[in-house]
């Protein structure tokens, strides 16, 4: 039971990092990406590949994953600079589909559909994080760092510029903000921190395959942000906790066949998204627009 709870808590931490970084571009930059799982996957594959080929050093893996994900984020920043809203969602959806194909087809690096197996536990300075409780500590510390860093950025001048762009791009431009640079930087930040979650995920499970990085995953991350409350500090964390614990809670319903838990979970959050949009579009932790 204790091991089970530690496992859940670790997954909550990883998902919370994902939700926070997605909320960073959705809530503050107004970029609604359905491709967040791509960067999660890039981080995980880079970490697993490095761990299997060269070294189990966590810091090296993190650095490499952040750089690779950051570079790939240009593919998302480019359409984000050209179009807004609906069009961008479509572009990011297409990007997600393309990336999932690459993950499952580029067999020499990603191991194809079967994925990469037997990723050794990561280590810092020779100390390997093999014990689940230690790994939970690592994940929790990382989460705390991400929360502090993201909140600091949101409250800095960059964060205020982002909100200005979200609310009115032309007004921000008129005030002399470099809209293109600010948007590119925010996508870069979001993608590279998202990759950190991917590194933790790969090192924690020791096994990854494309199923964790498909459109379903992107949808789940978006649902976390929306259910919790977009554009708030605590919203994504609350959303991540709720939606990570949901499948675990569903297993306690005896009449539900195990194979259907995944789709029942998706139905619940799909339905929750519809109801929230009708009755409380700002999410559970939401505040009225304009105060945030």
């Amino acid at each position: 039971m204790f091991a089970y709870l530690v496992n859940l808590a670790t997954l909550v931490c990883i998902n919370a990092i994902l939700a926070i970084t997605l909320n960073f571009i959705m809530g503050y930059a107004g970029i609604f990406s359905l491709a967040h799982a791509v960067f999660f996957g890039v981080g995980a594959y880079v970490a697993a590949f490095i761990a299997l080929q060269w070294t189990d050093s966590l810091l090296l893996q993190l650095l490499a994953a952040m750089i690779v994900a950051g570079l790939i984020s240009a593919a998302l920043a480019l359409p984000a600079l050209r179009v807004r809203g609906d069009y961008f969602v479509a572009a990011s959806l297409g990007f997600q589909v393309l990336a999932a194909t690459v993950f499952s087809e580029w067999k020499s690096v990603t191991g194809g559909i079967g994925g990469l197996v037997g990723v050794p536990p990561a280590s810092i300075g020779g100390h390997a994080f093999g014990d689940p409780v230690e790994f939970l500590g690592l994940a929790a510390v990382t989460l705390a760092l991400v929360v502090v860093l993201t909140t600091a950025i949101v409250r800095s001048s960059l964060g205020r510029s982002l909100k200005a762009i979200r609310d009115s791009e032309s007004a921000a431009l008129a005030f002399g903000k470099n809209v293109a640079l600010i948007k590119t930087l925010s996508v870069f930040y979001s993608a590279s921190i998202c990759a950190v979650a991917g590194v933790l995920y790969a090192d924690y499970l020791g096994f990854i395959n494309v199923e964790s990085f498909t459109i379903d995953a992107s949808t789940l991350f978006m649902a976390m942000v929306i259910v919790g409350g977009i554009g708030t500090v605590w919203g994504p964390i609350v959303g991540a906790v709720l939606l990570t614990l949901l499948p675990a809670a569903l297993t306690y319903l005896p009449f539900l066949p195990r194979t259907e838990i995944g789709s029942v979970q998706q139905m619940i959050y799909g339905f929750a998204m519809v109801l929230l949009m009708i009755f409380k579009p700002d999410g559970l932790m939401g505040v009225k627009r304009g105060e945030a």
Partner: protein, 290 residues
């Protein structure tokens, strides 16, 4: 000969993509609702047809009619009970998108739970290929697809230009305020747009169930193609959406000449990406309802 074969396959697929995209474009043009659940409409009508025709062995015109009725009811219900309430409080793109997306997620999983997640297809003599010239195989469904697409498109154009409701629909896409001034109810016109746009997926849904088959996730694919065709064709242009759908279908099939089938969606995406970066207004610029 392989190239010609791929082009013919592409035209068959593209005609159906075009028709589905026109439905999406019609709804978006008239109501400004980015109807992400359009793919769900497609999946619903396809599975209704499959269940009646292939499982219950109902006569085919009745099966198609039932698919039409169900999909129209679904479209109108969405407009009334999901988009309507959202628009009356907060009409921002984001809330509508999330609501619509939530519906698509629910429908996809409902279908997966009821019918299973594997591939199913409707057995039909129409999808058996005949060798027209040596080395060139064409199934009757290809002809039916093209005829159905052209008929529906011409009928839709006539409807939009000749009837009062059609003119009201075009007026709504130009200026909802003015529609109200002239004593028409924008909500009623919007309901009509959803009914029309939804029923346009039926020919494609029925023919797809006979040719390439269905699975629970097909809605997402259809959604991506419809959105891509709408953007590539130029938002608000029905003619653009139809042409872009055809283009995407042909491009997807031509890609098979050099690449494995799993890359076909990547081709769609690359075309969409190129248009978004190089020409965000699409083929037909900012023409509102052609």
């Amino acid at each position: 000969m392989l190239l010609l074969q791929l082009i013919i396959n592409g035209i068959q697929v593209g005609a159906l993509y075009g028709l589905t995209a026109v439905g999406f474009s019609l709804i978006f043009g008239a109501t400004k609702i980015f109807h992400f659940a359009h793919g769900a409409s497609f999946a619903i009508s396809a599975y209704v047809f499959y269940y009646l025709y292939a499982v219950l062995l109902v006569w085919w015109p009745i099966s198609i009619l039932a698919a039409c009725i169900v999909v129209v009811v679904f479209g109108i219900a969405l407009d009334r009970y999901v988009y309507g309430p959202i628009q009356s409080t907060d009409g921002s793109f984001f809330t509508i998108f999330v609501g619509s997306f939530g519906v698509a997620v629910v429908i996809q999983n409902l279908i997966g739970t009821i019918f299973g997640r594997g591939f199913i297809s409707v057995p039909s003599a129409l999808s058996k290929s005949v060798e027209l010239v040596p080395g060139l195989y064409v199934a009757p469904t290809a002809g039916i697809a093209v005829v159905a697409a052209v008929t529906c498109f011409v009928a839709l154009q006539l409807f939009l230009s000749k009837t009062n409701i059609g003119i009201a629909l075009r007026a709504l896409s130009e200026s909802p305020g003015l529609v109200r001034t002239f004593g028409l109810n924008p909500r009623a016109v919007s309901t009509c747009a959803f009914a029309l746009g939804s029923v346009l997926v039926v020919p494609a849904a029925v023919l797809t169930s006979m040719t390439s088959g269905l699975n629970a996730a097909i809605g997402g694919r259809v959604m991506l193609i419809s959105v891509a065709a709408t953007i590539v064709g130029g938002v608000g242009s029905l003619r653009g959406a139809a042409c872009a759908g055809l283009l995407l279908g042909i491009a997807e099939n031509l890609a098979l000449w050099r690449f494995d089938p799993q890359w076909s969606e990547a081709v769609t995406f690359l075309i969409l990406f190129a248009f978004i970066v190089l020409r965000p207004s699409g083929f037909f610029g900012r023409v509102v309802t052609s």
